[in-house]
């Protein structure tokens, strides 16, 4: 029995080490963002918000931020608008070729982004269209659609069909049923899908590098071009802001969703 416990302790220790390894670089970025030194490296000499102030005056970054927010939001709206009906079809209906179509819609997750980037750009070039914001948006919708499908389908499985049937048999019209029953039950799934699409779009670099123009830079693409010159402490500050933003949004959303769910169930 003694030996068994020590084995479990080793497993715990190992897990802790993996966590440390995973988070050390991220923590380092946040800490170094406050280092007032000219080079964003150790040792820390003092503590200041200097680089955050400098960042807030950098109009290129601010523009990129605005672009990223708009792009992410639009991507989220469009990807869920076409993804949710598809998820409904897969979960609620039986039809020929269902398995195959489901795999076909989700499989793009496995296609390298570089190839998606080349493919769409080549297609646009053949159509003799210039790169534009629309291309970026279309690309991001295609990129995020499989994830939206996966997330929404996983949530939909948990919603019982009987609720809708009960409403219909009690005399509600199909539209009323959708408005009063299906949609409120579906809302958390839609919300989760949108959030996921937003984050993926906000984060994406590889494919975006192919599609973005000088006017349509996103934050990650901007960071990428900043990296080419040197690693300035401004990047650490920007990294800290991004980490805070992308981590706090899902956490806050999770909290809101839980409150929301609690409000809905008696």
């Amino acid at each position: 029995m003694k030996k068994l416990i020590s084995g479990w302790t080793l497993i715990k220790l190992y897990t802790i080490l993996v966590y440390v390894w995973m988070f050390a670089p991220i923590v380092a970025v946040v800490i170094l963002a406050f280092n007032p030194q000219q080079f964003g490296t150790f040792p820390m000499e003092g503590f200041s918000f200097k680089w955050f102030v400098k960042l807030s005056q950098n109009s290129t970054i601010l523009d990129a931020f605005k672009n990223s927010l708009v792009l992410g939001s639009l991507t989220a709206v469009f990807a869920t608008a076409i993804g949710v009906p598809a998820a409904l079809a897969f979960i609620r209906y039986e039809f020929k070729g269902k398995e195959f179509l489901n795999t076909m819609l989700i499989a793009p997750i496995m296609i390298p982004e570089v190839i998606l980037g080349v493919a769409l750009l080549l297609f646009i070039r053949w159509l003799q269209q210039p790169k534009s914001f629309a291309l970026l948006l279309i690309g991001h919708v295609v990129l995020t659609l499989p994830y939206v499908l996966l997330i929404v389908q996983a949530r939909l499985v948990g919603i019982k069909r009987e609720y809708e049937e009960a409403a219909l048999s009690l005399g509600a019209s199909p539209f009323q049923t959708f408005r009063e029953i299906t949609f409120p039950l579906l809302a958390p799934a839609i919300f989760a899908g949108m959030l996921f699409a937003f984050t993926i779009s906000f984060d994406d670099v590889t494919a975006t590098l192919f599609w973005a123009t000088a006017q349509n830079q996103t934050v990650p693409v901007q960071i990428f071009s900043m990296l080419r010159t040197s690693i300035s402490p401004e990047i650490n500050a920007l990294g800290a802001v991004m980490i805070l933003l992308t981590v706090s949004i899902p956490l806050a959303a999770g909290y809101v969703a839980r409150r929301f769910a609690r409000g809905n169930t008696p």
Binding site: F42, I111, F202
Partner: protein, 288 residues
């Protein structure tokens, strides 16, 4: 209840149209384009010839990059497996109240910007990064160890990105195992280790293989880690495609390299699907 047979198709049509027009057609275009001839100026010339492929295999330069990509992918898979199995097992067995919190922490990196996570390794491995800073400070070395811009650094960045996928895949598989099976094995006289080796480990293999496939495929298409953390010799196939297409505007050759990469992945995924079934991966991904 009677269903209208066209209804699911109506619901599906926007997604199907989008994926068909914006993904399948463009990818077919890449295949077609890979046979074209490059024009010195203007539009490329439609043709059907294998010159672009011949160029790839003409000397060892390009094939070496392809082999490098495969080697790095295998190394990443192996290290992810070693680093990921034990934490996944920990989640499966632990009864700690902290478990949901720890699970969220594993998934947290999914939400953190990929480029930030990649470049964060510069702060750790660089000449004036954390490790060299500490080693210098305590007099263990006199000059900084060169830890950045090599294959090791690239793999570090890749693991940072892919480890959560591996842990989740293994965990989902482990979580489906009835714990009473191990208890039964132990009550029949197995030691803890024997019960793990004979019962738990074999039953977790679907998750292990799904994780390995996902990590391998995602590594093969990776662009950023070799770009940011690697040196000139650590280029991978995706970097090559980017350089040819965006750098030298050689669309036909860039397309041919894309097709080669795609073929490699299709063969691997197809083989996997034959023996294991691809749905295991989607099952785990939807938990993420």
């Amino acid at each position: 209840m009677k269903e209208k047979p066209w209804k699911p198709w109506l619901l599906l049509s926007p997604s199907l149209t989008a994926v068909f027009l914006l993904l399948i057609v463009p990818v077919c275009f890449v295949v077609v384009y890979s046979f074209w001839l490059r024009a010195p100026s203007g539009m490329d010339i439609p043709a059907f010839q294998f010159g672009n492929y011949a160029k790839f295999f003409a000397d060892s330069f390009y094939p070496v990059i392809l082999l490098n990509t495969i080697r790095v992918a295998l190394e990443t898979v192996f290290i992810c497996l070693i680093m990921g199995y034990i934490p996944a097992y920990f989640f499966y067995r632990t009864e700690s109240r902290l478990k949901p919190f720890l699970m969220i922490l594993v998934m947290l990196p999914f939400w953190i910007s990929f480029i930030i996570r990649t470049l964060s390794w510069i702060n750790i491995l660089g000449d004036s990064g954390l490790i060299n800073h500490l080693l210098l400070k305590y007099g263990m070395i006199t000059t900084p160890l060169p830890m950045l811009y090599n294959e090791g650094a690239v793999i570090m960045g890749l693991i940072q990105y892919l480890l959560p996928f591996m842990i989740l895949n293994i965990y989902v598989s482990l979580d489906g195992i009835d714990k009473s099976l191990t208890e039964a094995a132990q009550s029949l006289g197995c030691t803890e280790w024997q019960a793990f080796r004979e019962v738990t480990l074999p039953l977790s293999l679907p998750g292990v293989s799904a994780g390995c496939l996902l990590v391998f495929v995602l590594t093969c298409g990776t662009y950023l880690p070799p770009m940011i953390l690697g040196g000139p010799n650590n280029e991978m196939i995706a970097n090559l495609i980017f350089k040819r297409v965006i750098g030298t505007l050689d669309w036909p050759f860039g397309s041919a390299i894309s097709v080669i990469l795609l073929l490699l992945l299709v063969i691997i995924v197809y083989t996997y699907n034959r023996y294991m079934g691809i749905n295991q991966i989607f099952k785990s991904l939807s938990k993420g």
